[in-house]
Symmetry: C2
Subunit: 337 residues, 2 copies
C-alpha cells in the first residue's frame, strides 16, 4: 500500500517511475512552415482551411489528424490509447471536443490557455505514474484565424498590430506518454498559481504572463532544490521577446538568475522578417515546438534536460470588456534523457 | 515499486485506497433556494449580483466563497489545500480563473461543460490515490444569467422557452478530497467518450446528452462487473425529465435496465411549479446537488452507494452556427460509505 507522497515543496511533484514520452507528432500552418524550424515539422499545411468549410473545423481536424499521426508513429491502434487529455483556445474547447468525437478515445477536457500542453503533460504524467493508465495522449491545438476572430478582430479587417503583439500559431502538437518504453522522461512538474500584477493590455500578453512564469520557475527551483544550471534549456511557452526579457529580469530580482540557456517558444518559432512583432503565441506554439524541434533534439542528445514552462493568459473578451486585468498561469515540466 | 494497473475494463478506474470526500459546501441562487432542497443549501443568495458589478464577477465570487466555506468547514487554512481543480461554463472558464487568482492555490483548469464536477472528482481521486496530493479541492460553478447571455439570449429580452428547455442553475459546489479522513469514499470512476448521435437542437440538450450518459453507464457496469442494483441511487448530471426518460430507455435497449433507483439532478433541483420546463442544467446543477443534499444523505446513511453520472454538452455557439451537431460526454464516479 504505497503511502509515500510524491509531492516536493509546495507546488511540485516528482515522479517515482518517471513516465516516458515515447512518441510525438505535429501539424503546422503555412507560416510556421516558412519559419526557422519549418523543415522539422511533420506536416506543413498548404492553406488554413485544411479541406474544411471553416477555420474552426480545420482546427479540430488538425488535432484529430495529429493524434492519428502520433498513434501511427507509435504503431498503436487508436483503441490502444487509453485516454486523451486535450484542449485548445476556443470557447468551450470545441476543437478538442470535436476531435475527441471522431477519435472515440475516453476524453478529459482541459483549459489552461497557452499553458495547456504543460498542464496536460503534468496531469498525464500523474495518471501514468499513479498506475491508472499505461498509454495516453496529450494533444493541444490552436489556429491563427480562429483565435484572431474570437479574441481580437476578423483577420479580413486587417487591423494594425502593436509592436508588443504576438502572432497566434496555427499548429497542433501531440505526444504519447507511456509507463514503459524508450524516450525522454517526465521527472518533475510544478503546478502554477494564478498571478495577476494588474496588466490589462491585451496587446501585450507577454508582459502579463511574465510574472506568472517567473513565479512558477522560482517555485520549481525552490521546491526541487535544483539550480537553473541543472537544465540544458529552460524554455517558456510563449512570452515573446519582451515578455521573455521581463521574465528573466523578474527571476533575477527574485534571486533566481537563470543564466544563458533560456529561451521562449514564441521567440523561436518565427523568423524576425516574418512580421510577427513580439513572436508567436497560442497553445499550439509550445505544443509544436515541444512535439517537434525540442523533443527531436532530446532524442539526438543535443539536449538532455529541459524545463518546459507553459504560460497562459486566462482572460476572456468578456472579462476584458468588464475592466478586468489579465490573470495568468504557468506550469513547468522537467523532461530528461 | 507499484506497477499494478488500477484500470478495470476499457474506461474505468478503481482506486486502491479510495480517496475520501471529507467536506463539501455550496452556494445557490434565489430560485434554487425556493426549490425542494432550498432548506438544505449552505448559502442562498438574495440576488444574482452577490454584491458585484456584473453577473460574471458574481459567478467567480461564488466559487471563491464556496472554496473558503468548504475550507472553513474542514478547519483548513486555504494554504493547506494543495491544488484546486475547477471549471465553469464561461468562455475561457473565467469564473474559475478569477477565483483561483484570489485564492492563491495551485490551479488546474478543466472544461467538461456540465460534466465538470464528475470529471474533477475522477481526476482529483486519481491525483490523491496516485500519491501526489493528500488534500485537494474540486469546485464548479454556473450562473443562470451569464450562461443565458453567452449561449442563448440576453435574459432581459424575455425570449420564449421551449418545453424541452432546461434552466441553468445559479450555484456552486465544492468538495475536499483527502487521502485520509472520515466521509464517503470515491471507489471507481468511468471516463466517458464523446458521443454524438446527430442531435442539433440546442433547446433539447437532454436528448443530446442522453446517449452519452447511457454509453458511460453501460461502460461502467461492463468494466466493473457491477449490477445497477449495487447502487442505492444512480443519478445523472442534468438530463432533465425528457433526457432522463430517454437515457433509461436507451440503457434498457442496451440490455442494461437500471431499475427504480434512478434520478437526475436537473429533475430534482426545482419544483414543477417553478416554470423551468424540463428541469435544471448547468455545471452548478450536479455540483450543488452533490455537495449538499446527496452527500448529506450519504452522511446520514440514507444512501450508502451512489453513482454520479455528470453529463455535458460540448458545443459552442460557433459550432452550432456552423451547422454542427452537439457532441456530448458523461463521466461516472462511484461514491460509497
Amino acid at each position: 500500500m504505497p503511502r509515500v507522497s510524491k509531492r516536493t515543496g509546495q507546488q511540485s511533484i516528482y515522479f517515482e517511475n518517471p513516465p516516458v514520452i515515447t512518441n510525438w507528432a505535429n501539424i503546422v500552418g503555412p507560416m510556421e512552415g516558412q519559419g526557422p524550424y519549418g523543415q522539422e515539422f511533420d506536416w506543413v499545411l498548404e492553406d488554413y482551411l485544411f479541406g474544411e468549410q471553416s477555420w474552426e473545423k480545420a482546427e479540430a481536424k488538425m488535432l484529430r489528424e495529429t493524434v492519428k499521426l502520433v498513434a501511427s508513429k507509435a504503431n498503436l491502434p487508436l483503441g490502444n490509447i487509453e485516454v486523451l487529455l486535450a484542449g485548445d483556445l476556443l470557447n468551450q474547447i470545441i476543437s478538442a471536443n470535436f476531435a475527441a468525437r471522431e477519435l472515440k478515445i475516453p476524453f478529459l477536457g482541459l483549459y489552461g490557455a497557452c499553458s495547456t500542453m504543460a498542464e496536460g503533460i503534468a496531469l498525464g504524467a500523474m495518471l501514468i505514474d499513479g498506475g491508472f493508465y499505461s498509454t495516453l495522449t496529450v494533444g493541444v491545438t490552436s489556429h491563427h484565424h480562429t483565435a484572431e476572430r474570437q479574441f481580437r478582430f476578423p483577420t479580413e479587417q486587417g487591423a494594425q498590430r502593436l509592436p508588443s503583439s504576438q502572432w497566434t500559431v496555427t499548429g497542433c502538437g501531440c505526444l504519447i506518454i507511456q509507463r514503459d518504453g524508450v524516450g525522454p522522461r517526465i521527472t518533475t512538474a510544478t503546478v502554477g498559481k494564478v498571478i495577476d500584477l494588474g496588466q490589462s493590455d491585451v496587446n501585450d500578453m507577454g508582459a502579463a504572463m511574465a510574472p506568472a512564469a517567473a513565479d512558477t520557475i522560482v517555485a520549481h527551483f525552490r521546491d526541487t532544490g535544483r539550480d537553473p544550471r541543472y537544465y540544458d534549456l529552460i524554455i517558456t511557452g510563449d512570452l515573446g521577446k519582451y515578455g521573455l526579457a521581463l521574465m528573466e529580469s523578474l527571476c533575477q530580482k527574485l534571486n533566481c538568475p537563470l543564466g544563458q540557456h533560456v529561451s521562449d517558444c514564441g521567440v523561436l518559432i518565427y523568423d524576425i522578417d516574418q512580421d510577427v512583432h513580439a513572436g508567436g503565441s497560442g497553445c499550439g506554439c509550445s505544443a509544436v515546438m515541444l512535439c517537434g524541434p525540442l523533443l527531436n533534439r532530446m532524442q539526438a542528445k543535443e539536449f538532455n534536460r529541459i524545463l518546459l514552462v507553459g504560460t497562459g493568459a486566462l482572460m476572456s473578451t468578456t472579462s476584458s470588456l468588464q475592466g478586468e486585468t489579465i490573470p495568468c498561469i504557468a506550469h513547468a515540466v522537467a523532461i530528461e534523457n
